[in-house]
């Protein structure tokens, strides 16, 4: 398995406040990697640095290319699809319009997204603001897929959703994993669900990557120490 995304000793700050002190991780092609850690440990900040939404130091490489100081839209065009924390659909656009606005050539089309999330197909003419939280999350994932990425980043994709909707989202992630053409970096708090889809895990503690390895190698001592569960 070759490294699609590589972070080496990445640091980042919000103004004078340093948030990342040295994060290193790797996501291979077709691999699902869980980025874990307690609240405020730098997971979302790490995602922002990957996507170029926050300036960083250190090395971030994607498909062999140094992301360096590339603007965020150019990073996204290289094949990184982001599902941001808090869903954040374009409220004034319909479901179909949200997906069309993001569309880039590739295997992911409106029809394919519709078959992954049939509810989106049913609500194609509905404004995003009128969707339920779960449907908005499906739309956010669908929108990221419409950019035809090679790496999908899911930042707290099931946060605040009803259990039945969470299952639907996880089923979709499992489906994407089985399809195999997509690498996924997933941030979530549900160890149980992550165990079903993730190949490997990276744990962040106070802005530093402190553990990485196969997900099934996560033992009680590690989860107790770094995740508090």
């Amino acid at each position: 398995m070759t490294g699609l995304l590589t972070l080496e000793n990445v640091t980042a700050s919000y103004g004078p406040v340093q948030a990342l002190f040295g994060v290193s991780l790797e996501v291979g092609e077709g691999e699902v990697v869980a980025l874990m850690g307690r609240n405020g440990m730098g997971k979302s900040t790490c995602v922002k640095t990957i996507c170029g939404l926050l300036p960083s130091a250190g090395t971030i490489r994607f498909s062999g290319q140094d992301l360096g100081r590339l603007p965020s839209h150019k990073i996204a065009r290289l094949g990184i699809g982001l599902v941001p924390e808090g869903r954040r659909c374009f409220a004034d656009l319909t479901v179909a319009e949200n997906l069309t606005a993001a569309a880039r050539p590739g295997s992911w089309t409106f029809e394919r997204v519709g078959s992954l999330f049939p509810r989106l197909k049913e609500r194609r003419h509905q404004k995003a603001r009128t969707l339920s939280g779960g449907e908005q999350q499906m739309l956010a994932i669908g929108r990221a897929l419409m950019t035809n990425p090679t790496l999908l980043i899911l930042d707290e994709a099931t946060e605040g959703l009803a259990p039945v909707v969470r299952l639907e989202i996880w089923a979709a992630v499992a489906h994407l994993r089985q399809a195999g053409a997509l690498s996924i970096l997933v941030i979530d708090k549900s160890l149980k669900e992550l165990a079903r889809v993730a190949d490997r895990a990276v744990i962040l503690e106070r802005g530093t990557s402190v553990w990485s390895g196969r997900f099934d190698a996560l033992d009680e001592q590690v989860t107790q120490t770094y995740l508090g569960v």
Partner: protein, 327 residues
């Protein structure tokens, strides 16, 4: 309450019926007023692409309106005086052909919008408003000091420019030309809003960061929108100059920019027919109240206040079932 589409169709039907109304009531001046309405509506449809779709509050769109006007004025002036517009490095002569003038007006306005947009779209909010206003004032004062073309007094064109196969001196035929162009511009604007570009522009208005995360550059989207918007406003400027057979620095003034923006706010920002209904109301008030009082703008101000306070979707929003353009 009616569907917005029905309301739009009624507005268009009303504009088409005006020549008939003018004939029946024996009020030929109505056609001139309607022509002014249609042209101002076109300028506002242009601005609405930047403002309604892209969220760009430009207070300098009179630059493009004026450039369109002066493109017409200069070409027609040199045609009527039989003098070349330019001899070095190559010969450019004047023309009285409307299609050629429109093309020049569109190209010149689009080019100016490209330069102005490239510089001003690096800012946002109040800074963007101020920088576009500053560009407007630059062109305004340049036109005032350009004595070769009338300076502050402006430039008169004796005969209206020609269109193949039509008598443009006939008010109805000139009105038909303007209305046809407005219909084309409206069709184009509606297609643009539904296109992936228009949707991405709309999305960039809502959240530039999210658009960047989709791999799109909000700056580029806005620049293209600004150029298209400027080109349409420039075309309207050329027609406006042809209607009056006169161009003056007033076409570049910030009041002109404000007037175009008022048409949009009155009718409904981001609404396809908002600028058209806004222009109809504006010109009607200007004509009717203007006859009664020199202070008719007070009444316009009150109406504008009422629309802003009680009808956020503009008049189209108040009359149709869809209250807000982006709702």
């Amino acid at each position: 309450m009616m569907q917005e589409r029905t309301l739009n169709a009624l507005v268009l039907a009303g504009l088409i019926a005006i020549p008939l109304f003018a004939y029946v009531t024996d009020e030929p001046f109505t056609i001139t007023l309607a022509t002014r309405t249609v042209i101002l509506a076109m300028a506002a449809v242009g601005l609405n692409i930047a403002l309604g779709l892209g969220g760009l509050v430009s207070l300098g769109h009179a630059v493009f309106f004026g450039l369109g006007g002066y493109a017409m004025g200069l070409l027609a002036y040199h045609a009527q005086t039989y003098t070349p517009l330019m001899e070095v490095p190559f010969l450019i002569e004047g023309t009285k052909s409307m299609p050629v003038i429109w093309l020049v007006a569109v190209i010149v306005s689009a080019f100016a919008a490209l330069i102005i947009g490239y510089l001003s779209l690096r800012t946002s909010g109040g800074y963007f408003i101020m920088i576009t206003l500053a560009f407007g004032q630059m062109f305004f004062f340049f036109a005032i000091s350009w004595s070769a073309y009338g300076g502050e007094d402006g430039l008169s064109i004796y005969v209206r420019n020609g269109f193949p196969g039509l008598n443009t001196l006939d008010p109805i035929q000139f009105y038909a030309i303007c209305l046809t162009l407005l219909a084309i511009v409206l069709w184009f604007a509606s297609r643009l809003a539904c296109s992936p570009f228009g949707l991405a522009l709309n999305a960039a208005r809502q959240s530039p960061d999210r658009v960047r995360a989709m791999g799109l550059d909000p700056f580029r989207l806005r620049l293209v929108a600004f150029v298209v918007s400027g080109a349409i406003t420039g075309l309207a400027g050329a027609l406006f100059a042809d209607l009056n057979r006169f161009v003056s620095p007033a076409m570049f003034s910030w009041q002109m920019s404000g007037e175009i923006m008022i048409l949009i706010i009155l009718g409904g920002t981001g609404r396809l027919y908002g600028p058209v209904l806004g222009a109809i109301v504006f010109v009607t008030l200007e004509h009717t109240l203007g006859d009664i009082s020199d202070y008719w703008l007070i009444f316009l101000g009150l109406l504008l206040l009422a629309v802003v306070l009680f009808a956020k979707g503009g008049l189209i929003g108040a009359l149709s079932s869809r209250r807000t353009a982006h709702g």
